[in-house]
Chain length 173, copies 2
């Protein structure tokens, strides 16, 4: 019933099952990526704040690296609202290219959960935004995404324990 | 994996951790409650549709019992939108009392995830809505809630495996 929209889904999975898999995978991948990049000092970029749960998790587990949030309009939970000078406000189509000038290829970790309900739209956006994200990542840096991305020079990594195949992706420069 | 976390919330839990615990507990309690009430034929009530993920899960795992959704305004994912004649539209302050007349004490399973971000508000609402829910449940029926409820004649049950203490509650008539 839902299998046409997601990959790869067993037929008796509910949308609740899928959602839990996605959240659990996201956490497993972020925890892994934080550990893997622990020696790096470059900033962390969160693309899309939403409710702020993932931002809260990133900040809570971060080792002093600054976490910048790219968002069109901040509407997060009060507990998970970043300080103003760590918000890069605007459309990522503009703010990502502008950030290449500001930060260069310095990010130690970039996380994106850009996906909406529509799988085709997500994929189209992932294709569009991948080349805007790629030049921001430092050598050795990791990119964690809920959607498959389309990078030229990054390598897709195996998922850590606890993550569900197809629900999360990790790329390394 | 989740069993080590207990209520009250440990200080190094992020909002993402809490949210995952809540969703995982909700699913564990619903699966358990569906199995426990499998011999019953009375309707299932979902209080609050939201995005529709839990409704989708209930319908997918239900054994022919009708699932009615109580909601002020349907705004769910297209895949998880109930048929019109299974939506009880309006404020639960009105629709729950009206449903006692229509259905009597016949519900085999009632699920509520009414909670917003504000704990105090949730608790206040749980106190208000508990006596409106209680007369709808059939003898032997179960009530699953993400918030602690305040029932006169129902018994709180131990949580099934996989559910995290304090993230979900089960009551039996």
């Amino acid at each position: 019933m839902v299998s046409r929209r997601y990959f790869p889904v067993s037929e008796n999975q509910s949308r609740l099952d899928l959602f839990i898999d996605r959240m659990v995978s996201q956490r497993a991948c972020l925890d892994y990526a934080i550990r893997q990049t622990a020696g790096m000092t470059g900033p962390v970029f969160e693309l899309g704040l939403g409710n702020g749960r993932t931002y809260h998790h990133l900040v809570q587990h971060m080792d002093g690296r600054p976490v910048y949030v790219f968002e069109r309009a901040v509407a997060s939970h009060p507990d998970s609202t970043p300080p103003e000078d760590h918000v890069i406000l605007g459309d990522v189509r503009d703010t990502l290219p502008a950030s290449v000038e500001r930060f260069g290829a310095s990010a130690s970790l970039i996380h994106a959960d850009l996906g909406g309900h529509n799988r085709e739209k997500n994929d189209k956006f992932a294709r569009f935004v991948s080349p805007l994200i790629e030049p921001l990542l430092a050598p050795g840096g990791l990119m964690v995404s809920s959607d498959r991305m389309y990078f030229e020079g990054l390598t897709e990594m195996p998922l850590p324990e606890g993550a569900v195949e197809g629900r999360c992706f990790i790329y390394r420069r």
